[in-house]
Subunit: 147 residues, 2 copies
Amino acid sequence: MQIQDSYGFLLAKVEEEMEALFTEYLRKLHITAPQFGVLQHIEQYPNASQIQVSEALFIDRTTMVAHVDHLEKIDLIKRVRNPNDRRSFGLTVTEYGVSALKKGRKQLNKTENSVLSVLDQDEKGHLKSILKKVWNSIQEGEHDGKN
Amino acid sequence: MQIQDSYGFLLAKVEEEMEALFTEYLRKLHITAPQFGVLQHIEQYPNASQIQVSEALFIDRTTMVAHVDHLEKIDLIKRVRNPNDRRSFGLTVTEYGVSALKKGRKQLNKTENSVLSVLDQDEKGHLKSILKKVWNSIQEGEHDGKN
DNA sequence: TATTGTTATACTCTATAACTATA
DNA sequence: TATAGTTATAGAGTATAACAATA
């Protein structure tokens, strides 16, 4: 079997293509794909702490510091010290962050449709449900301190 | 929609899990997952040049230098100057490289089956055929000088 | 002039360890 | 003692530019 037919190779290359296209667009917003994910998560769960976002998105907390630093620096989010536990921050999206999210979501749809344009609706549905099934099983099986 | 339900997130996380597990095993062989791919490709196409491997696996040629340097250093492959075109090398797998490949392939199967164990045979087949379909369409659409 | 391989450089993500301030 | 956030550091992949040797 060729390495190009392995699941790992195919997953990696399709993912790379999708991320590369999305990243190219996101340059206009001065953020990367993982940073867009962080931004979207903060909008959905306002006042989440950095650790909470880290655990939800499976991003290391040291990487999260860099993402949050950057998003705050370009005024897409704010850190507000949590008065009930002064070790942590509550993260919130700014007005400017909301408008960036709207643009980003629109483009994410475009990018996904473009990369997967060769698939019909059934195949797209299969792909997503299969990936979610696998990812759920990975999460349930997780017991080490990766994050 | 949550970012955790996007194709990009799911592809990235499932790929990360598969690569992390495989990489953990490959530490015994002192190579990474991309290096295993390079090794396997050289076995299948003996005397391929670095550029040829780069183009087949969509790995940048400057990254390829580092991979080939490493694989040669630990005696899994050899560089032999091509007498017909002295700019390039012919790459071949050593005896030791062949035995590493056997172990690696065995583990790759185990890893894939483990990560995808939640899927039935039909679903595994769907996943692979869908990923190949998408990857083929990406390759055909490629026209820039990424590699 | 073009191509193969190489080097230098820079950026992003990942991961570990150790630190601080707070609990 | 434990947790949230931070800093320092290192490793891996990716990408661009520029160079030498060769075609």
